[in-house]
Symmetry: C2
Subunit: 434 residues, 2 copies
């Protein structure tokens, strides 16, 4: 009787049966919140087994992924080569995605880890215990491997995830998601444990960001436009994975050979990533000794230089930098250069123009190094090393979901621990407050 | 020449010289950010000396504070007794404010504390080190002692603070701020180290919340209206100190004498605070044994009961609870009561109706206790103790700036450590990435 009625309704009032995108997203987020309760207490072994099955499924169904990816590539023919390269999934890249899931299965489960324990005078035992955050939304651009990386890490830390990838990689993301979600459902996990927003409609992000009753955290990974949009619209707490305007500062007392090696590495080893150097600062007392050879080597490596007037004095071929240059993440073989009159000026410049990501000093002077480490307000501050080390694997975390450029909750590489929160579990024996 | 020109301008174009509230706040926030750099590296001894001088100054100038407070009280004659009580500053309350500053001076300085240290295969030494957050804005209501408490805690953790108190206590807040700021300036701290928004103009909060280029964190302490307003307007990360809809759940296997004592304490020992019990859940297997005596004692203690149908069956005089009752923070001698059919129902109810603050189970069954501790999604979860213990002092933190009901960065009582962030200080010897 009820069935007939429903069918009739559907037949006569088709518009009423259409669920708006807004409502759809709310349903998705509500289901994710509900699924986060059982997932939050799922045993580590169970989670690991599912991760390993997910890895196998990716390999078994790699043809589906590659053929979906080809559709995305065809749709993006007009984009540049670097873009197409980031978008493309090969057999070996799918193997890497599967390997990452296996690696995550081997990492220590942070959930229910006791961070600290305290016996207080009232007789209570107070344990500070890691717990999942709950529901995490991740908004990202282009690279489709992010889809499985995020699913793996969030899942291991006991969080339900809602993914919103770039529209350019929607076919690839959908294929990857469907394969992983099938494994999750077959393992008996609730629908809503992992979620993909399967539409290119740009309004989806606006709607999503208002669902603070269901979603605990949103992580935008991308450029200025995306980050600003999310910060302006979101009612949900945000941890930004923003650009890296990273500096190397060559001090007056630097070992100039070491500085040369570090600067070259930080700029050219992989210029398209967020921990590459975008701006090089040189103490005026080292400039004449350091810059000629350094700039020549950059030139030989096809690096365009945008320098201050003093830099240009040393190498006439250098283009003059604008104020904007010093704030720019080139992600390319371009470098801004500035000669500064002191360590203090270098620190002020970095705090003012940088993006609080990764910055390094090269110096043999321990006092200068300590001052730089303390006063530069960035997630990762280095002495005598390349900024390129800012990375979850290099930091010994085993993986990363990205690099937080924010100060709250998580700063720098975010891995499993950073995808958890904590609660206080308090054990009493009848205590009341006097 | 320049001076004459400026005086002339001021004389002829007075309107041009008026700075808008918006611009004023931006200047304040910019100055705070600049002041946060030297404060962030100020030696612990220096900070402690200044805190002790602040305490002395409060005591020396107590008459100024009391006379300013009297103005606020006169302006609030129409408000209820509890409100006036919270607003009123007596000599002994000023003494308490001074004592708190001295206590904070004795707490361990969290800044530059090494949280963890790691030697990684590349040869880098990676230290995770506590650092100040930077600039913190705190928006709060009525109680003027919060002004000096927040200044003391933020200062000790190396943060500049921008305070926005309730308009009802503006005279009191201004008096306290002026005394403490004078000490700060006399000690040579930058103007901008501590700040008070000295206007009752409601637009100030809207403007403030857009200054995310200068302010790192905003903490709203207050009721639903304030919290929602801040979440909706803020471009700055927010840690909410929201209401406490706290539960005690009396399990089927509870020691009912203990449960009786805990519930009475959690409700009546101090009903006006956020960690008091607002809702009592009772397993159906314990209800007939437990409720008659418990409800009688609540009645004798003048506590109004709003119960479910089953509660009303046991005590006819009970008022029937609405759905809204179960979400209400009464802060008064009122209690909602519900009989539930299982531990699972109790947990679901708390996760759905509570405010993720503090919740307790009374039980002799260790398995039930562990399930409750794991599955209730609140900052502080108790077994066999009153919820009234959620407090920085009771938790052994030495102080608190409030209770976070959020999950990110800080959860539960927030003290000095929770007012810091961290950075990675990485020590190399010329490392570059392969």
């Amino acid at each position: 009787m009820l069935t007939i009625l429903l069918v009739k309704e559907q037949f006569f009032y088709p518009d009423k049966m259409k669920i708006s995108l807004n409502k759809k997203l709310e349903n998705m987020a509500r289901a994710a919140q509900a699924a986060s309760r059982p997932l939050g207490v799922l045993a580590t072994d169970e989670k690991n087994k599912i991760l390993i099955n997910m890895a196998s499924a990716l390999l078994a169904e790699k043809d589906k992924i590659i053929s979906a990816n080809k559709k995305d590539i065809v749709n993006c023919q007009s984009r540049n080569k670097a873009f197409i390269d980031r978008l493309t999934l090969t057999e070996s890249r799918i193997k890497q995605m599967a390997d990452s899931l296996i690696e995550v299965s081997k990492l220590k489960d942070p959930v229910l880890n006791v961070i600290s324990s305290r016996d207080v005078p009232s007789g209570l035992k107070i344990n500070k215990v890691r717990t999942p955050i709950g529901v995490i939304a991740i908004i990202y651009e282009s690279r489709p491997n992010v889809t499985s990386d995020c699913i793996g890490l969030c899942f291991k830390a006991g969080n339900c995830v809602i993914l919103r990838g770039g529209s350019e990689s929607l076919n690839s993301n959908r294929a990857i998601f469907n394969i992983l979600n099938k494994v999750a459902l077959e393992a008996g996990l609730s629908r809503g444990t992992i979620n993909l927003i399967d539409t290119a409609d740009h309004k989806a992000v606006d709607y999503l960001l208002k669902l603070n009753n269901y979603i605990d955290l949103v992580i935008p990974r991308g450029g200025e436009e995306l980050i600003n949009k999310v910060v302006r619209s979101s009612l949900i707490p945000v941890i930004k994975h923003y650009k890296g305007v990273c500096h190397v500062y060559v001090d007056e007392e630097a070992d100039l050979n070491m500085a040369h090696k570090i600067c070259l590495n930080a700029k050219i080893q992989r210029p398209g990533v967020c921990n590459a150097m975008e701006s090089m600062l040189v103490h005026q007392g080292a400039a004449v000794r350091f810059l000629p050879g350094m700039l020549k080597d950059f030139k030989d490596a096809q690096v365009q230089i945008r320098g201050c007037a003093l830099t240009k004095k040393i190498a006439k071929w250098v283009k003059l930098a604008t104020q904007k240059d010093y704030r720019t993440e080139y992600l390319d073989l371009i470098l801004s250069v500035k000669v500064v009159d002191s360590l203090d000026s270098a620190i002020s410049h970095i705090n003012e123009y940088g993006s609080h990501h990764s910055d390094s000093i090269v110096t043999e002077n321990a006092q200068a190094a300590e001052k730089f480490l303390k006063e530069v307000d960035s997630a990762c501050v280095y002495v005598n090393a390349s900024t390129r080390f800012t990375d979850g694997h290099q930091f010994g975390m085993g993986a990363e979901i990205g690099i937080s450029t924010d100060k709250l909750h998580a700063r720098g590489p975010m891995a499993l621990e950073e995808l958890t929160t904590y609660k206080y579990m308090v054990y009493g024996s009848g205590q009341v407050r006097e």
